[in-house]
C-alpha cells in the first residue's frame, strides 16, 4: 500500500511516499517559507521526480497536532482535498508520534518537544526498543517546569532523547541533570516519511472526519494582559 504523507505542523515542511515500509520519495524544507505557498509545488515536484501519480496513492497521512495553528490547518486541508478528490482514506498522525519515529530503532526514551512559546512545550514520551515505539505519555501541553518533573520518571528507564523543534530548548534546560541527549538536527524534525510509517499502524478514516487536534496550553488559563485598565478609557 502506498501512503502519501504530509507534515506542516511546525516551521519545516515535508512530503513523502512510503510503500509497505519502503520510503519511495521524500522532500523536506526548513527555510521559513510559507507552507501554503511551498508545500503543494514541493509535493508535485517530488511525485514527478519519483514518477509517481496521485492516482496510484492508496491513502493519505498527515500530522494532525499538536503544533502550529496555521501549519496544522494547511497540512490537513491539503490532505482532505487530495483524499476527497481521489476518494481514498486518510490517517491523522500525532505530531509527537511522527517525531518519535525518527529514533524508533534506538534503545531508550524518546521525548518529542515542540516549542509552544512562553516556556511551554507540546510533548509526549515513548519507550523505543527493538520492537519500535511504546507510548509512555499521552500528547500534552505543559510548562517546561512540569516536563522537568516528568523527566525524573524517564531517566531511570534509559537514555532520554529529545526530538522536535523544542528539543534543543529542553536539552539546554535539562542537560545538567544528566541522562538526556540531543540527537543531530537531521533526526530532530518531523519528516513526512515518519508520518507515513506511523500511519501504517492506524485505522484509516474518511477525509471528512479529519480534524486538527489542538492542545490547550497551560497559559491559556492566565490573563494575557494589562488591558482592563487601558480599555475603559479608549474606544
Amino acid at each position: 500500500m502506498k501512503i502519501l504523507g504530509i507534515d506542516t505542523s511546525s516551521v519545516s515542511a515535508s512530503t513523502a511516499v512510503v510503500e509497505d515500509g519502503k520510503v519511495l520519495a521524500e522532500s523536506f524544507i526548513n527555510v521559513k517559507l510559507t507552507h501554503s505557498e511551498t508545500m503543494m509545488p514541493m509535493l508535485e515536484a517530488m511525485l514527478k521526480d519519483a514518477r509517481l501519480s496521485l492516482a496510484e496513492i492508496d491513502a493519505f497521512a498527515v500530522t494532525n497536532g499538536p503544533g502550529s495553528f496555521t501549519g496544522l490547518r494547511i497540512g490537513i486541508a491539503a490532505v482532505k482535498g487530495l483524499a476527497f478528490a481521489q476518494d481514498k482514506p486518510c490517517f491523522g498522525v500525532s505530531t509527537m508520534e511522527a517525531l518519535a519515529y525518527n529514533l524508533a530503532g534506538v534503545s531508550g526514551v524518546v521525548v518529542p518537544a515542540m516549542d509552544a512559546r512562553c516556556q511551554q512545550v507540546y510533548t509526549a514520551a515513548f519507550c523505543a526498543g527493538p520492537d519500535g515505539l511504546v507510548r509512555l505519555e499521552e500528547d500534552c501541553a505543559i510548562s517546561l517546569e512540569e516536563l522537568g518533573g516528568k523527566l525524573e520518571q524517564f531517566v531511570p528507564r534509559g537514555p532520554v532523547f529529545f526530538v522536535g523543534d523544542g528539543g534543543e530548548l529542553c536539552y539546554n534546560k535539562f542537560h545538567n541533570r544528566g541522562g538526556v541527549f540531543l540527537p543531530p538536527p537531521h533526526l530532530r524534525y518531523a519528516r513526512a516519511a515518519c508520518v507515513c510509517m506511523a500511519a501504517q499502524k492506524l485505522s484509516p478514516e474518511p477525509a471528512a472526519s479529519l480534524v486538527p487536534r489542538y492542545l490547550r496550553l497551560p497559559q491559556a488559563e492566565r490573563e494575557l494582559l494589562q488591558k482592563q485598565k487601558s480599555k475603559g478609557e479608549d474606544r
Binding site: 496550553l217 490573563e223 494582559l225 478609557e233
Partner: protein
C-alpha cells in the same frame, strides 16, 4: 529610549520610514496608545520604508494584514484578542517564525506574550495633529 514630536500625519509616516531603515526582518514592533493616535499612519510609513506602496489600513476586522514588502510586514490589531486561545488562533506565534516584521496595534492586550527584545512605540496625543511618539528597544 527616544521621544519625538510629530506635527502632521506626514511627519509620523516619515518617522516610521526612518525606523524601517533600521529593520532587517524578525523584529516585533509593539504599539501602545489608544484610538486615533496614528498607529495605522505609522505602519503606513513602515510599509513605505520597506518598499510597499499598496494600501495600508487598520486590520481591526481581519486581525492581520500582510504587506508584501521586503522583508514582509504583518500588521496586527489585537483589539479583539482577549485570551491566549484567541492569540494562538490568529497565527501570531506562526508569524513570529517567518522572518517577517510584525507591527502590532493594541499590544496592551497581549503584553505578556510579546517576545523579549521587541521594539515598543508609544503614542501620546498633544493636539489635534500633534503626537508624542516614544521609541524603545532600537536606536533611531
Amino acid at each position: 529610549m527616544k521621544t519625538f514630536v510629530t506635527h502632521t500625519a506626514e511627519e509620523t509616516e516619515a518617522l516610521a520610514q526612518r525606523l524601517a531603515q533600521k529593520l532587517c526582518g524578525g523584529e516585533v514592533i509593539a504599539y501602545f496608545g489608544g484610538l486615533g493616535m496614528g498607529k495605522t499612519t505609522f505602519t503606513r510609513g513602515l510599509a513605505r520604508g520597506l518598499g510597499w506602496d499598496g494600501e495600508v489600513s487598520s486590520p481591526t476586522f481581519a486581525l492581520v494584514h500582510e504587506y508584501r514588502s521586503r522583508p514582509p510586514l504583518y500588521h496586527f490589531d489585537m483589539y479583539r484578542v482577549t485570551s491566549f486561545d484567541d492569540l494562538y488562533s490568529t497565527g501570531f506565534f506562526d508569524y513570529l517564525e517567518t522572518g517577517g516584521i510584525l507591527a502590532i496595534e493594541w499590544s496592551e492586550n497581549i503584553e505578556s506574550a510579546l517576545p523579549e527584545g521587541c521594539v515598543r512605540v508609544s503614542f501620546r496625543r498633544l493636539g489635534d495633529e500633534e503626537r508624542e511618539i516614544t521609541v524603545e528597544g532600537i536606536e533611531l
